[in-house]
């Protein structure tokens, strides 16, 4: 099993971050807030690992970053999806959906026929 990261499986955090940035550049805090709201505060236990994930994704080339100024004029680091990142998001969403469907179907199976 993949190592948990901040309470979530590692891969899950990655795809959430990619999704969070799919509407445009955000800084790390905004991504954290979005994950909270989107998962109804259910999943993200710690916020630190989010930053580890952001830097990791940038190293992999799925994100690029820039320094900018936030709404309240503080210096912040903004992330955005690269073209490869966008591609990765599509891929991850497809396989996630497949995974979820498969497990759901298995879990809702009736008792096997005897014989």
């Amino acid at each position: 099993m993949l190592e948990p990261e901040g309470g979530l499986l590692r891969g899950t955090l990655d795809v959430l971050i990619l999704k969070a940035l799919s509407w445009g550049p955000r800084h790390g805090y905004a991504v954290a807030e979005w994950v909270r709201t989107a998962t109804d505060d259910h999943l993200l236990v710690e916020e630190g690992p989010l930053y580890t994930a952001l830097h990791r994704l940038e190293r992999k080339g799925w994100l690029t970053s820039e320094w900018g100024y936030s709404e309240n004029n503080r210096k912040a680091r903004y992330y955005q999806l690269s073209r490869a990142g966008r591609q990765q998001l599509r891929t991850e969403m497809t396989s996630w959906q497949r995974y979820v469907d498969a497990v759901t179907r298995a879990l809702s199976m009736p008792a096997p026929a005897r014989g």
Binding site: G28, H55, R59, W67
Partner: protein, 912 residues
């Protein structure tokens, strides 16, 4: 508004991460304060919600650093690719120049790699067996083909009895093999074969292949069982090469019967292709069990003769046994053997028993000693040559640098850093060096093989593996890198150092104007490079001159016999079946027949010829002489026919010759040479004194002969005595040579000698018929080759330096055209112009000489061991080399000087 980050320096990464994380904590804190928490509580809660700040910070920094590194790597790769592509394009545009440089580099690198291949094969390469570092050589590893007869225990080679004893008494070894000389082997694949094969053969113990760790490729190798009874294992193992050559790679060769020297043997195995025996420089094609030696050579059964010391031993250290432990075990065991062998009445054994125990990873080799030093000397010489070539190439690149000023300044102007330019230029040098190295590698394969052929000079070639091995390729790669650094760096640096404004303004003309500072520096650099080339060429020339002088002194020395009028004919009488009385009669008759050939003035015969093949030595006692060391009782000897001394043109100093009468009556007499006479008898007359040979036979000295150089041109003549070839021992001579003296040039008589022998007995195997001068030349063929190669290198180096000098002078003159024109216009003589240019060039040469002579004095010390009869500072050699250098320099500078004097003053003045 967002600001681009730009180049993320590695030092900024931690700061950026801190800022980013601080922003988050701050935002979270503000958020919590807005919910009603106190600022302190909010901050604490924000930190709690964040998690392990330190760990996250570390992870983020690590990720960022890796990202930056990866980007940099990719950037460097891109730049390198760009550089190489651009370099290739530039070189293609100047294809002529590039080809010239690549070829010169190829020659230089190729020569180095060729010599290194040989150095590696002779000196460095371990045997192609399992774990060769565990092998230990016992005995003198260069005595591969020797047999000594002695009643004292000898330790350079061993007899069979002592080998078997040692094998039992060395527990630190997992196995000890024995290997001995096998000559005169004739192999007939089938009875009908017309011409027998004469493969290089070794007699080996049953555990030979097992100790070495080489399994047979086909069939089986020898086993301990093949060591059992004498003559009980008529089996043979052949090499891959022999299998291919003689048996046409017949897959059914295992089990085939062959005839070896009239005995039937069965081939039981074929060795893998890369195994050619344990002797470097002497590949073995056929292995026979030791126990078969008396069957092959019934007349000299060394195996069972107690006094025959002919085996070399190679042991494999057991696991956990160090070399030191193994060595002391061997020494103890040998000491025990010597003590056990001592019999009552003999002189007590010496306290120090010297047995040579050395590293056996590289096997035995007869050529390693002498050739080793010669090869390393050559390597140094050829290395110097490569340096000169690099200097030449550097000069060429510098010359082009001037023409590329515009290109460089353009690139600088649009923003390339100087470092980028240097890297670009180095890429060009790298491509040149790479191409040169690849071609050089190919040339080297031919070169090393050619060297071996030249070295053989008609005699049997030394067999070495000159294939492509990792060390050789590695050496080539290393050389390529070194050459790039040597010839590429300075021109690259120079070329990139361009004064923007001047370069662009000068336009297409380049910067040949005399006012250009860059050109001035270029000139100075060029001149220093030439001076360096001159210095190095001088080193090579002096080395060559010393070697040539040494060779001359070797040739011109007095050998103690008539070297220009002798023919030596070696025959194998024992194989043919001559023995005892029949042999005595045959020797006399054949000598008579040879004497009757037109042009022959004298004929004699002996066991060991002159400058051919065998030598004999023995220990003896001289009554009245106290030996201080074991060696003092040892001397070389020969068994000779009648009138030997006069026949070979030797000088009889005292007493009389050995006559036919002595032979007929089996008188026990002897001649001694001057060295021996002085050693044992000092100034007293040795005539009439007796020598006690070991088998209690006493011979009386009847004459003293002046020292003769009979086997080696270099080296001192040792003690030697001569006894009649007949009636002096129980066994027949193991070899036979005829010495034929001619009135005039012996060369045309050689064939007649051969014919006469064939007419006398067509079945008598003739090993060799040759003039003594030919044999002598062959004995120093290595020195001759070395001298020739050194001269070749020296002259090549001189040629390169001369070309360089010519180039630099031409350039210097072109820069001073205006000045020269002015001088001529003001009335200077044309000869003064010539003098000026010559003077200028001689200044460069002088600096080169001033550097070169001390260098040569130091380098010539390397040659000390190669030189004979002259010192490493022989003045005439230095003088000759200097003379050749100066003359060549003047010749090279003469053309530009003359052209300078032909300058038309008006044209020159207008041009500037």
């Amino acid at each position: 508004m967002r600001r681009a980050v730009g180049n993320l320096g590695e030092r900024n990464i931690p700061r950026h991460v801190d800022e980013e994380l601080a922003f988050h904590i701050e935002m979270r804190t503000q958020h919590l304060i807005a919910r009603g928490m106190s600022p302190d509580a909010a901050r604490a809660e924000a930190l709690r919600q964040f998690g392990d700040l330190t760990a996250v910070r570390q992870a983020c920094i690590a990720n960022d650093e890796e990202r930056v590194r990866a980007t940099r790597r990719a950037g460097a790769m891109d730049e390198l690719k760009q550089n190489l592509v651009y370099a290739a394009r530039t070189l293609r545009r100047n294809a002529g120049f590039a080809t010239g440089v690549v070829l010169t580099l190829a020659v230089g690198i190729g020569a180095n790699v060729a010599i290194f291949t040989l150095v590696h094969a002779v000196l460095l390469r371990p045997l192609p067996v399992a774990n060769p570092e565990a092998l230990v050589a016992i005995g003198n590893p260069s005595w591969v083909n020797s047999v000594s007869h002695s009643t004292n225990v000898r330790t350079e080679t061993f007899n069979w009895e002592h080998y078997k004893t040692l094998r039992e008494r060395l527990p630190g070894f997992s196995g000890v093999l024995a290997s001995g000389r096998a000559d005169g082997i004739e192999l007939r694949a089938d009875a009908s074969a017309a011409e027998p094969d004469r493969p290089r053969t070794r007699f080996v113990s049953g555990n030979y292949f097992q100790v070495l760790g080489v399994p047979a490729a086909r069939g089986r190798a020898f086993t301990a069982g093949d060591d059992e009874g004498i003559g009980a294992s008529p089996v043979a193992v052949i090499s891959h090469a022999l299998w291919q050559r003689r048996f046409n790679a017949d897959p059914g060769v295992v089990g085939r019967d062959v005839v070896i020297n009239s005995s039937r043997f069965t081939i039981v195995g074929v060795m893998p292709e890369q195994f050619r025996g344990e002797i470097v420089g002497q590949n073995t094609d056929l292995w026979l069990p030791l126990t078969m030696q008396p069957v092959i050579h019934p007349r000299r059964p060394w195996l069972t003769e107690r006094e025959a010391y002919w085996l070399l031993l190679l042991g494999r250290r057991g696991p956990g046994v160090s070399f030191e432990q193994a060595k002391s075990q061997v020494e103890t065991a040998v000491r025990q053997i010597v003590t056990d062998a001592w019999t009552e009445g003999s002189p007590p054994p010496p306290n120090e028993i010297d047995v040579l125990v050395s590293d056996g990873a590289r096997g035995f080799s007869a050529v390693r000693g002498a050739s080793g030093t010669a090869l390393t000397t050559l390597l140094v010489g050829v290395g110097v040559l490569l340096l000169i070539i690099c200097a030449n190439v550097a000069n060429l690149l510098l010359a082009r640098a001037v023409a590329r000023g515009r290109e460089m300044s353009l690139r600088l102007a649009i923003g390339a850093g100087r470092g980028r330019l240097v890297r670009q230029l180095l890429s060009e040098s790298m491509l040149l060096a790479l191409a040169g190295a690849v071609i050089g590698l190919v040339l080297a394969r031919w070169g090393s093989r050619l060297l071996l052929v030249l070295h053989a000079d008609g005699a049997r070639a030394v067999t070495l593996d000159t294939g492509l091995v990792l060390p050789v390729v590695g050496f080539t790669a290393g050389l390529a890198v070194l050459t790039v650094v040597t010839f590429g760096l300075i021109p690259a640096w120079r070329t990139s150092r361009v004064d923007l404004a001047t370069a662009l303004r000068a336009g297409a003309r380049g910067t040949t104007g005399s006012g250009s500072a860059a050109a001035g520096v270029r000139n100075a650099l060029g001149r220093s490079l030439i001076a360096a080339q001159v210095a190095l060429s001088l080193v090579l020339l002096i080395g060559a001159a010393l070697l040539v002088r040494s060779l001359q002194s070797v040739h011109n020395q007095d050998m103690g016999l008539d070297r220009d009028h002798l023919i030596i004919a070696d025959v194998d009488a024992t194989t043919r079946g001559y023995a005892g009385e029949r042999l005595a009669v045959m020797m006399k008759e054949l000598a008579d027949r040879l004497h009757r050939i037109g042009g022959v003035t004298a004929v004699t015969y002996s066991e060991n010829g002159i400058f051919s093949g065998t030598e004999s030595a023995t220990t003896f006692q001289v009554p009245g002489f106290i030996a201080k060391a074991d060696e003092d009782t040892l001397a070389a000897y020969d068994r000779i026919g009648p009138g030997y001394v006069t026949a070979i043109g030797g000088r009889l100093l005292r007493g009389r010759e050995i006559t036919q009468d002595d032979l007929d009556r089996r008188v026990r007499v002897a001649l001694v040479n001057q060295t021996m006479a002085r050693f044992y008898f000092g100034d007293t007359d040795p005539i009439g004194r007796a020598i006690q040979l070991d088998d209690s036979v006493s011979v009386q000295i009847v004459g003293v002969i002046d020292d003769v150089k009979d086997h080696e041109l270099k080296g001192e003549v040792g003690r030697r005595f001569y006894v009649p070839i007949v009636g002096n021992a129980d066994n027949d001579p193991s070899a036979l040579s005829f010495e034929v003296r001619t009135a005039g040039d012996p060369a045309p008589i050689v064939e007649k000698v051969r014919q006469t022998i064939i007419e006398f007995d067509a079945q008598l195997p003739i090993e060799r018929v040759s003039t003594l001068s030919q044999l002598m030349r062959q004995s120093v063929r290595e020195d001759r080759l070395l001298a020739r190669l050194a001269s070749g290198f020296g002259l090549l180096a001189l040629l390169l330096a001369a070309i360089g000098l010519y180039g630099v002078m031409t350039y210097a003159v072109s820069r001073r055209t205006g000045e020269i024109g002015l001088r001529l216009a003001l009335g200077a003589q044309r000869t003064s112009v010539i003098r000026m240019v010559l003077g200028d060039s001689l200044r460069i040469v002088l600096i080169g000489i001033l550097i070169g002579v001390p260098l040569a004095l130091g380098a010539s010390r390397l040659l000390r061991n190669q030189l004979y009869g002259i010192s490493a500072t022989n003045p005439s050699a230095f003088a000759v080399a200097l003379g050749v250098l100066v003359v060549s320099a003047i010749a090279a500078a003469l053309v530009p000087a003359w052209r300078a004097s032909r300058v038309e003053p008006l044209l020159a003045l207008r041009q500037d």
